[in-house]
C-alpha cells in the first residue's frame, strides 16, 4: 500500500473513532494549524522537515500554569496506525505526554510517511525503540471516554477532542 492509500485508510478509521483528520503540506502547515487550534495553546517541537511551531501563536516554553490554562495542546506523534486511526505519542523529556493529555483539545501532527499499516507493525516499531533503550509512549485513539456515569461521555481525564494533522512529506 502506498502512503496515500494508508493515509486514506487512517482517515476512515480515525473518523470511526471520533478523530478529525486534516491533510496538509509543510508549506501551508501554519495556516492549517491556526484553523484548528483554540488559544491559549501549548506545544512541543515538531520533528518534521519544514514544519515548526516557531512562527505560530502556540506557546512552547511550558510551565504548569500555561499547561493548565491551555485549551489546545500540539504534539508530534511518532507514527499512526492506518487500520485504527491511532497515534503513538512518545513520552519525551519535552513534555509531549502532558501536552497531549491536559488540554481539552489535542492536535497531533503526523508525517504521512509515518503511517504504519496495522497494530502489529506499530508494536514492532515501538519494539525496535525499546530494544535501543528504555522508552515509553501511548497508543492514543480518539478522545478520552467513559461509560461510568450512566452514559457515554467524551473528555474525561484526557482531551475531549482530538485532531490529527497529516503532513504530506514526500
Amino acid at each position: 500500500m502506498d502512503a496515500g492509500a494508508e493515509t486514506t485508510q487512517f482517515e476512515t478509521a480515525a473518523a470511526d473513532h471520533d478523530l478529525a483528520v486534516t491533510r496538509t503540506r509543510a508549506a501551508s502547515f501554519d495556516s492549517t494549524l491556526d484553523g484548528i487550534v483554540e488559544y491559549p495553546a501549548v506545544g512541543v517541537s515538531l520533528p518534521i522537515d519544514g514544519v515548526s511551531l516557531a512562527e505560530t501563536d502556540v506557546e512552547t516554553t511550558l510551565t504548569p500554569r500555561k499547561l493548565d490554562a491551555a485549551r489546545t495542546g500540539v504534539t508530534p506523534v511518532s507514527f499512526g496506525i492506518a487500520t485504527l486511526g491511532t497515534v503513538f505519542i512518545e513520552g519525551s523529556a519535552d513534555g509531549a505526554e502532558p501536552v497531549s493529555l491536559f488540554p481539552e483539545r489535542h492536535v497531533a501532527v503526523l508525517a504521512a510517511s509515518d503511517v504504519c499499516p496495522e497494530l502489529a507493525a506499530a508494536v514492532d516499531r515501538f519494539g525496535e525503540e525499546l530494544a535501543a533503550g528504555p522508552s515509553s509512549g501511548v497508543f492514543a485513539t480518539g478522545p478520552s471516554a467513559t461509560a461510568d456515569m450512566g452514559g457515554h461521555v467524551q473528555g474525561v481525564h484526557g482531551p475531549s477532542e482530538v485532531h490529527v494533522i497529516v503532513v504530506a512529506d514526500r
Partner: protein, 733 residues
Amino acid sequence: MTEESRRQTAARIRDVMTTDGAAVNEQVRNLNENRYESVAAFDDYESSRDRARKIKERAIEDLPTLIETVTEHVEANGGHVHVAKDGAEANRYVQDVLDEQAGETVVKSKSMTTEEIGLREHLADEGADVFETDLGEFVIQLAEESPSHIVGPSLHKSREEIATLFNEQFDPDSPLETPAELTAFAREYLGERMKEADLGITGANFVLAESGSIVLVTNEGNARKSAVVPDTHVAVAGIEKLIPSIEELHPFLELIARSATGQDIAQYVSLLTPPVKTPTLDFDRPDQPIDASDDDREFHLVLLDNGRTAMREDPHLRETLYCIRCGACLNSCANFQQVGGHAFGGDTYTGGIGTGWVAGIDGPDATAGFNDLCTSCSRCVPNCPVKIDIPWINTVVRERRNHGKTPDAVDHLIDPLVPDQEATGLDRQKRFFGNIDTVLRLGSSLAPVSNWALSLPGVDRLLESTVGIDRRRSLPHLATETFASWWADHQENPDSADTTVHLFVDLYTNYLYPERGKAAVRLLRELDLSVEVTPVLPSGRAPLSQGMISTATEQANEVAEALDSSIAAEEPVLVIEPSDLALFRSEYSKLLPTETAAKIEAGTVGILEYVTPLLKSQSEIESGASGEIVFHSNCQQRTAGFEEPTVEALEALGYDVRTTDVECCGMAGSFGYKSQFYELSMAVGGDLEPQVTDTEVLASGTSCVAQIESLADGDEPPHPVELVEQAWTEHTR
C-alpha cells in the same frame, strides 16, 4: 444446605436483583452485544486466542525466571521491584514509599489487584488521602461499596443513583444530573487531586519482563495522569501479569478491549518503561518551566503473590492465572447478567472467573456464597480470549467445598440408597440431584404410583424442605413405558440395512421422554440404517454439575466401557441429549484417560449431526409444506458448535427456522429446580420468553424443555428429531 440457608440465599439473590438487577442487566448485555459484533468483524480472533493462550501457558510456566528478568531490568532502569508474598506485605511496602516522601495525597488508577489487598483502605487508615481516579472506582469509593464487575466496578449503579450520590456528597451549586455534568464534575474534582498528588498508584495490565515496561489499558486517561504527573509512581501487579517481552504483546492488545467492551482498541494503551522521561509537573510552582533535567522520578513495581504461586502449582486453578481480566465471562453469563457481582462474586473478583481467583487467594470455602451460581452452561468458554475452562474451575472448586462439611445426621439413612462415590458430608440437595439416575430408576419402577404420589397435596412442600426442589416447579412426568421397554418389543431392523448405528440412550430419553428416542429409531430406519441401542447409563453430567467429580468419573468409565465395542467397530454412537454429547466432547477429557476420551469424542455424534447430511442427500423431499418454527438449542450445544445441523435439517424440510439467541434458558439442569435459585432461574428465562411464545418451539435439551414449558405456560416443546421424523415421513415418498 439446609432449608433455612436456602431461604437466606434466595432472599439475598432477590435483594441484589432488586437493587442492582436492572442496571447490571442493561450494561452487561450491552457490553456482551458489542463484543459479539466486534469479534465477528475480527478475522484473526481464533488465531489470536490460540497465540494468547500459548503465551500465557509459557509465561506461567516460566514465572520464576520472568520475575528475575523483570527485576534485573527495572533495577537497571533505575526503579525498584518488590515481590510481596501477601497483601499485608504489599500494603506495608507502599506505605513505606509514601512515608519516605512524607506524602499525603495519593491518586490511584483502577486496579483490581490493589482492590484485592485493600491498599486504599490501608493507606487511608494510616492517614493518607487516597483518591480513586477511574470514575467507576471513584463512585464505588464514594458509595463505600465493593466492585460488582472486574471492568466496570460501578456498573450496577444507574445514572440517577450516581447523581444522588454526588449531590449528597459534594452539594454542588446546581444539582448534577446528566452523564456529561457528572463527568465534568468528577474530572474537575479529580483533576485537582492529581495536581496535588505526591504519589501515583496504578496497576498493570501486562508487565514486560525483558524491558521492565508496564502496559496500562484505559479509556479515561486517568492511568496516564496517575503514572506520570506525580514524581513517584508505584505499580502494583499480580505476578501473573508478566509476559516475556513486547514481542508477546500483540495478541493481547488485539483481544483485551474487544473482549472487554467490544472496542477494537482501547482509547489509551500506555507502554511505560519507568522511570519515564516525561517531566513531572509541580503545580505548587506554577511558573517554573517544565523541564525533565532536574527530575527525581522514582518508580516501584510491587509484584504480588498472595496465593498465586500456590495456584500455579495447582493443576486446576493454574488456568486462572491466564486471565487478562477482560470480563467477557461475566458479560456472557446469563446468571451474572441478572445479578452482577454483588451476588455472583467475592469482594473483588466476580462472575465465572471470580471463583478461581477467590479460591486461589482465600481458599475454596470463600466461594461458598456464589460458586453454585455457575451452572456449567459453558457460554463463557468460547468468549474467553485465553480459552480458560471456567466452568471446570467452578466444578473443581465446588467439589473441594463439598467435602469440607461434617456429615449430616441423616447421611447414614441416605447412603445405602445412593451408590455414589462421594465421601460423607455432601449437601443433601446436591446428593439428590447428583444421583438423579437412582431417583429416576426407583421412581420409574413405580411410574404410575410415583406420578400420582407427586401430585398429592403436601408432597411439593416435602420435596422443598428435604431436597430443596422449589414447589413452584412442576416435575416432569415419568413415562409409564420407558424407552428401554418399548425397545424390547421393537428391535427388528430393515432387511436392506447394511450400516449399523448405535443410539445412546440417556436417562431422560429413557425415563421422561421416550418419544424422542422412538422418533430417532423410526427416522434412522427410514434412512435404511440398522439401529442398536446402548444400555441406559448415566453420562456423569448430573453428578458433575453438583461438583461430585468422583461419581462423574465412575459413570464416565461405565459409559466408556459400554461404548467401547461400537467405537472399536467404527459404528457411530448417536446422541439425543445435547448436554451429554457436549460432555463427551469436552469434560470427558478431564475425567478419563486421554486416549479413551479422544475415542469417545471421535466416535459420538449428535443425532441430527448424523442424520442431516443423509436427509439432504436424498432428493425426494417435497419442501415448503411447513411453516415458521423456533429452535432453542441447549447452551452447551451452542458452545460445542453442533446447533447448525438441526437448523439445516429443518430448513431442508421446508421450515422457516428462527433460533433463540439468549445465552441460556436459565434452567440449566438442576439449577432451576433448586428453591434458592428459582427466581434467578425465572429471571434469566424472562429474556427467552418473548422468543418462545406465539410460534411452535423445539428444544433439544431436557432441562430447556422444562423451562420453556413453564415460561410459555404451554406444552412441552418436542425434541427436533421428533419433528424431523414426522415431517420426513409425511413429505417424502
